[in-house]
Symmetry: C2
Subunit: 392 residues, 2 copies
């Protein structure tokens, strides 16, 4: 087991009707003005935003609002938010929505506390030193941004999608009410489930094998999410299944399932380029590349992939031919993705990639040949292009 | 799944040589004077305390010291610590040791910030409103106090052992180096493993059945701790097994395995009276009463006990006779306790209970007939006496 740090200071308030506590939770932060940041109109239409304002009013908290965060949240809105916060003297941000609203809020929070261009932080030109404190009301189980140290922003100039990880961005509190996720369309729900699975799988696929406890918890999380996703296909308002994936989403990306080992994360990088160029749903993009990635790298650690096949996918171990077990496990995962109507290749994602686009994606993904991606196998530009080819 | 809050702000720094970071971690707290609080002489003899002082000196942190915390930590030392802190203007406590040193430090921290008698807080006459901030260097995997909200203190007057739970007492940071636990005697190691198992089992034995994710993580934690304990019987300096139980100890009592359900906790209350009266090792005391408690209450929820038998103890489910599965599971757990040289009754704990003592224990444990204990079955004084009888 490797040395690690584990730091999850976010106070999680989980369950029915918990959004009514937001006024009091914000008030505890001793702030003078709040930016309420949200995404699409659905939080307005559902009445959630009105309930949030009512709770803030009742607690005597003053605030300004900024909507419009979209999936693959945009840098232009972040700039707008930074300007608004500075003008209004905002000292706390409340994100209401999913990963897009939260990640956009994190970027605004970094920008308010940074003298230069906030995009430079995402380009890793400098490390962030401060961020406005942040609270969250979550409306979709997916990115785990409500407890995580990460945010991902897309710069429309060049359609570059870049992530930034820093403990500064872990929210002060996160309100998680499963009922707020009842009305999500099936595609978004299943894309969210895939994102949750992948946050744990990116950590699980590691060469470190002496992590019995963390492996076991990761495997059980994966099995639970798959079970709950299948329930939600037929019964989208099943409270317990919504609750399972909502809590799994936070635990899958707060660091718990990665303690003591180096993860892989190649699939996230492969998807980031696709998402930046084609604006696809993040989870669906991950499903579209995972199988090809797995077949390209599994020989680096047959034992790890076999453990996944047996303990997560329920494949019988083939003692004479462990690679057969591995391939059955990969196929079983792809069959699961199909069963929840997720794509298992890029064409099914709705994108027809030509050779030139593959070259461009691989070039960008390798940071113009400046880096490799992946922990199981170090993938350079040519490897990346090969996986996009396999997955198209 | 019930509504819940999850709040674990403690920064965990885990792995080899991490105690060398203590000076910097304390310095980040911006305190002016630290109380270094520890237990037995072993932290002196091992050289750990010297390394801690060297790290604090290097960081320019000033401190005073107080040793002497014993298992079932005593109120008299707590009073001494409070006085010392007030005299010296201490504003941060660093506990170096196991649950005894940490719980004693928590009580001192409460006392410094409370005008009345700190014991009144443990008697629940008043709720604590503040506590001195606390950091921890852990030397035994057991109580989980390094991340938990709880502390347990014994008042020598009347030998009452009482716990106090408040989020105020979650440490700011916890340094966990598995190597610091290499020299623990087998009995303490196995007593610690039992305490870890029981912290999760107290949460697992619940009537709430719709907790698939949390159940799965709890079950895998229990299996991992049992595997690691068996490794440590033969190879006490096995780094990975020490690391597994050290991290499991924190996760077992920071709230993770209890999210969304009400736990039982009767065994802890039964043990607290034994520990208060006879000063036995906490984990061993838990092992001594668990089987009798389980046989007394299992009919309240056969499904829950059968799930434990199958998913944790590997018993085959008897579809025709689930109670048979339950009883096999209880026996398998007792056999595990025997295999790690833990007692499965009070006599094996080294205590010969007479009828009068049983009456006294039951009377105290029921808070003089003022409460029942347990979530699976509400246990009044007569039930408590019956379980002590079964277990003696």
């Amino acid at each position: 087991m490797n040395n690690f740090q584990f730091y999850t200071p976010t106070k999680v308030v989980f369950g029915k009707d918990t959004e009514g506590q937001v006024g009091e939770l914000v008030k505890e932060q001793n702030c003078s003005k709040v930016l309420v940041h949200f995404g699409s109109g659905s939080v307005k239409r559902s009445g959630l935003l009105d309930r949030v304002y009512a709770s803030l009013d009742a607690a005597g908290v003053s605030y300004v609002s900024l909507g419009g965060a979209v999936p693959n949240p945009r840098l232009s809105l972040v700039y707008e938010g930074i300007e608004l916060c500075k003008k209004e003297g905002v000292d706390f941000i409340l994100a209401v929505g999913g990963g897009s609203a939260i990640d956009s809020a994190k970027a605004i929070g970094y920008g308010v506390k940074y003298d230069g261009d906030v995009w430079d932080l995402y380009l890793k030109k400098e490390a962030p030193k401060a961020m406005l404190p942040l609270g969250v009301i979550l409306t979709i189980a997916a990115t785990g941004s409500e407890m995580s140290n990460s945010s991902v922003i897309t710069n429309e100039e060049g359609w570059l999608k870049r992530g930034l990880n820093s403990d500064l961005s872990r929210p002060q509190f996160a309100i998680l009410n499963p009922e707020l996720t009842y009305t999500l369309p099936e595609y978004q729900t299943m894309s969210g489930c895939t994102d949750i699975l992948m946050h744990t799988m990116e950590r699980y696929f590691s060469h470190e094998m002496d992590t019995d406890l963390v492996d076991g918890m990761a495997e059980s999380l994966l099995r639970s999410v798959m079970r709950a996703a299948k329930v939600l296909l037929k019964d989208p308002k099943n409270y317990n299944a919504r609750a399972e994936i909502l809590w799994a989403g936070s635990l899958s990306h707060n660091g718990l399932t990665g303690c003591g080992r180096v993860g892989d994360w190649a699939c996230h990088q492969l998807e980031h380029e696709l998402g930046g160029m084609f604006d696809v749903a993040h989870g669906a993009g991950l499903a579209a590349v995972w199988g090809s990635w797995a077949r390209y790298v599994y020989k680096e650690n047959v034992a790890r992939f076999a453990k996944f096949a047996v303990n997560v996918m329920g494949v019988a171990y083939d003692y004479a031919d462990p690679e057969k077990t591995v391939l059955e496990g990969i196929e079983a995962m792809e069959n699961f993705f199909r069963s929840i109507h997720m794509p298992v290749n890029i064409r099914e994602l709705g994108v027809e990639l030509n050779d030139k686009q593959i070259e461009e994606l691989a070039y960008k993904c390798s940071f113009m040949d400046q880096r490799t991606i992946g922990g199981m196998k170090k993938l350079a530009r040519e490897d990346i292009a090969r996986i996009y080819e396999m997955a198209r």
